[in-house]
Symmetry: C2
Subunit: 398 residues, 2 copies
């Protein structure tokens, strides 16, 4: 029995594909510090957990396809606090950011159409594009320049008649790169010039360091028809298991079409929406210490990396990832080796090899993404193991 | 700004598209008996609600892409009780039946491939097919013969080189039709002969009346490579808002590919899986009275319909729908009229016009789906209004 072309083509998750080695290591009694996956250790806010505990409906019923009214009202309030003016009918609640991305891609692209995306990019964009028969056209960025955007000319050179959108992730996964106000306005101008949408993945909106402020695609004036926001509560509230996100746009026909996609799958999960809604009132008292904690973690990981000779990495200013270029031939081999062959006092560390974050074949092979989602003590141990492991690995291969 | 072809093509939900008329009626103070949507009124089992209340993790984390181990073990146990032998790694938990259908379609069909499906069929198959660039090829069935399958020859006449699967829903939404063991084995034989998969939507498995027993596609011997089961807890446990389903197959490469699709969207909702798992022990003491209640409701609705002259309907034996052919030109017009123009003592009734359940243009226009998901008192009132409304509508149009 044959499988479909897309089933053969779809990429295995580079974040999860080395998990069998991790499982085997654990079976041998090895403790692994997981820097490979963006699963925060921060406790989920109590009001969110309380919402699960106090769910009192007798029937766990379908909600509206566009999301529960009460939560869409909550999102209007949340976005207003971010300087983003949205009306309820400009928001559709989705099953996590994943579904928001799928809807955005499918609404703007037919089969064979193209989306420009700065690479390295969030690897699962590949999966969604494969499912939808869309081609992602990478605009390569580099560790040496902190994965900042190239010139207009370099971006525009990738536009073809089949290009329908530019997709950005700001702050960036896997890079931690933050686009400035100028960058976002520049992308919008390019999109406008070529009649493209911008799909802006802003799930790390709050994760900006050193007092930087976030520029949303929704902040660009006179860009209502082009701007599509995709979002998720997963990282913001340490609630990855809730699977609640949204898609938002002021483009009415686009949202009407997105609603039809949403109707096909009936609705996002009901109780999880109520739980997400309980987080809407969270403000500075929640985010300020959270961001301070992540900034300290970033500094710790970055400083540790800087001790390793030959490492290339510009200090990232957002999200909770560092994409680092290492003086090795193949980071997948290095990560696998760390899991299979190396440990200190029964402990080792796992990162995500970066090749899967690139669309251009061969790129990223000597890069690795580290997620600083552990407490500082654990991170310090993890980075010690990483540095020692690197030293040993280099000796082996030299 | 242009939208994609699939955004222009995707069908609006025929179940939900008349909702604005319902909203307007409610604003005028009219009470509506909703027979248009399969939202059961049966209380969600207490163990399921308790699972939400007792969630005690500190961090609401990502689960595995294939679903929580504990819940997959629960599903193995549940299916064993249904006479379906599945191992844990033959099951992937999905975000409702919707996602299971999407994964199944995408794994077996490339863009432009075809799936045979008896029509009328669950309307949202259309949406998933449009998203994936798949063509649904209808095999028409008829109210006069209780929407039973046509001959092998008629089914096989629709097979082309692009046909990859036959999709069935058993018991059927929107028809309530139950396929016998002979039917299921016959479909399997046709599939085997032409090298096709069978995607079997069995979300109404327990909803069989008069002591009928259910034949699953997984019961067919020597069909492991071809059989794909899609399922959901929504109807079974009156838990439509939980959004938990699964896809299951003994075809290893197929499940490996499905897992890659699953990895792209990371995981299904965590707490909802725990809630679904709490339902696994539910057995006869839960289902026997439930099924008796639905059978009584079916009888009530069917008997009321039989009082209406010119109605065509064979008593359905499963699910909780009746698809009825009415002596009117256009059921959408009739439903709209019931909402906008008709009421008895401030109450009216809403059904789902059936045209959207057909892929063949023009079919189903004089048919309507009624979901018997209300208690018997409400159903009796609803059917009284339906009959009186029908009488008045016929007078108007004659």
């Amino acid at each position: 029995m044959k499988l479909s072309q897309r089933a053969l083509e779809i990429q295995a998750s580079p974040i999860r594909k080395l998990m069998p080695h991790a499982v085997a290591a654990k079976k041998r009694g090895i403790k692994i510090y997981h820097l490979n996956i963006g699963q925060p250790d921060i406790p989920t806010p109590q009001p969110m957990l309380d919402a699960y505990h106090s769910f009192s409906d007798k029937v766990l019923a379908y909600g509206p396809s566009q999301g529960l009214d009460i939560y869409r009202q909550g999102l209007v309030e949340y976005y207003a606090k971010c300087g983003i003016q949205l009306a309820e009918n400009e928001i559709i609640v989705t099953t996590a950011g994943s579904e928001a991305i799928t809807f955005a891609m499918m609404v703007v692209c037919g089969v064979g159409d193209e989306i420009l995306v700065p690479e390295p990019f969030y690897t699962n964009y590949n999966g969604f594009a494969t499912m939808a028969g869309i081609t992602l056209k990478p605009v390569t960025t580099f560790a040496e320049t902190g994965f900042q955007l190239p010139s207009d000319a370099e971006i525009e050179a990738r536009v073809t008649p089949r290009t329908k959108a530019i997709m950005v992730c700001n702050p960036g996964n896997p890079t931690g790169t933050v686009y400035s106000r100028e960058d976002i306005f520049r992308i919008a101008a390019i999109a406008k010039k070529h009649g493209l949408y911008v799909i802006s993945d802003e799930v790390y909106r709050e994760f900006l360091y050193e007092g930087l402020s976030h520029t949303s695609i929704m902040h660009v004036p006179d860009f209502e028809e082009n701007a599509i926001l995709v979002d998720s509560v997963s990282k913001r509230y340490s609630a990855c298991g809730a699977r609640i996100g949204c898609i938002a746009s002021k483009n009415k026909p686009l949202m009407e079409a997105a609603l039809k996609f949403a109707q096909a799958r009936l609705c996002p999960p009901t109780v999880d929406q109520l739980a997400a809604n309980a987080c809407v009132p969270l403000a500075d008292e929640f985010f300020v210490p959270l961001i301070a904690e992540y900034q300290a973690r970033r500094d710790l990981v970055y400083d540790a990396l800087m001790q390793i000779p030959g490492v290339v990495c510009v200090k990232p200013q957002g999200a909770f990832y560092i994409l680092v270029k290492l003086p090795v031939a193949d980071c997948e081999d290095f990560v696998t080796w760390l899991l299979n062959e190396f440990s200190i006092d029964g402990e080792t560390v796992m990162g995500a090899p970066a090749e899967g974050f690139y669309a251009t074949p061969g790129l990223g092979r000597n890069e690795m993404r580290l997620a600083y989602v552990l407490n500082k003590d654990d991170l310090a141990k993890a980075m010690h193991i990483f540095a020692k492991g690197f030293e040993a690995y280099k000796k082996l291969s030299s």
